[in-house]
């Protein structure tokens, strides 16, 4: 989805990969941590549970914005959660680098979460800055 927007702006290939990586981290976090889907034992249980992710992404003024929202378990302590290498699920082979990668690849990352209610990650990145400056 992100790539669809960005490719129209002739961004650097790196920028597309950056955005894809950051979005991928946030979405998989919603699925694995928010809804704990790694534990759903396949279709049988999926029949009894449900999980929704809300994603909004857009472009204005050369800034690509995306927000990823889940109605999962929420994060009790955002500051701890965002520390590099921190993971609440080491048993799942999680690296704890998800938030670090989002911050590394995007210009801005904001996390809002209410424990027991859900999480929203909002990210921004300027795209195609080089061309912009050349044109001015």
């Amino acid at each position: 989805m992100a790539a669809a927007f960005l490719s129209e702006l002739n961004p650097k290939l790196e920028e597309i990969a950056d955005v894809k990586t950051a979005v991928s981290e946030a979405v998989i976090n919603a699925v694995i941590h928010g809804y704990g889907m790694e534990e759903w034992d396949g279709p049988t249980q999926a029949r009894r549970k449900s999980a929704w992710i809300h994603m909004e992404s857009g472009l204005s003024d050369n800034v690509f914005e995306v927000s990823i929202e889940d109605k999962g378990c929420g994060i009790p302590d955002i500051k701890t959660a965002m520390q590099p290498l921190y993971t609440s699920r080491p048993e799942l082979e999680r690296s704890g680098m998800g938030f670090s990668f989002m911050e590394e690849f995007m210009d801005e990352v904001k996390v809002e979460s209410t424990f027991g209610e859900g999480t929203m990650v909002q990210m921004k990145k300027k795209i195609g800055i080089v061309e912009q400056m050349e044109e001015e």
């Binding site: 790196e14 990586t21 991928s24 981290e25 082979e93 999680r94 690296s95 680098m97």
Partner: protein, 101 residues
């Protein structure tokens, strides 16, 4: 799995163009089977085709390292481009894996 090739004691894992959680679940299964059944010692990850990677790429390397290092095995990383190298370094992978070319 097509992406795994065994050469003697090495397991060579061809990483996909885009590495995300979904891709690594499959690679992990195939790799672990191979490591356990064929008693592979070293694992080589070939990133030659990879253009995009999220943190699941880190996880799969660290996980395989944990499995094989106990038995003296070593993890190698091949053909990573500048971008992928930067990502791997930012997670400290150079401490557990050797970069070849």
């Amino acid at each position: 799995m097509k992406a795994c090739k065994k050469n003697g004691q090495y397991l060579m894992i061809q990483m996909p163009e885009e590495i995300d959680h979904h891709q690594t679940v499959q690679i992990r299964q195939a790799a672990d089977e191979s490591i356990l059944e064929d008693e592979v010692r070293d694992v080589i990850f070939d990133f030659g085709q990879t253009r995009m990677m999220d943190s699941s790429g880190i996880e799969i390397i660290m996980g395989r390292y944990r499995m094989i290092s106990a038995f003296g095995g070593q993890v190698y990383i091949m053909n990573a481009d500048t971008r992928i190298k930067k990502i791997l370094f930012s997670a400290g992978i150079q401490k557990i894996a050797e970069f070849i070319n």
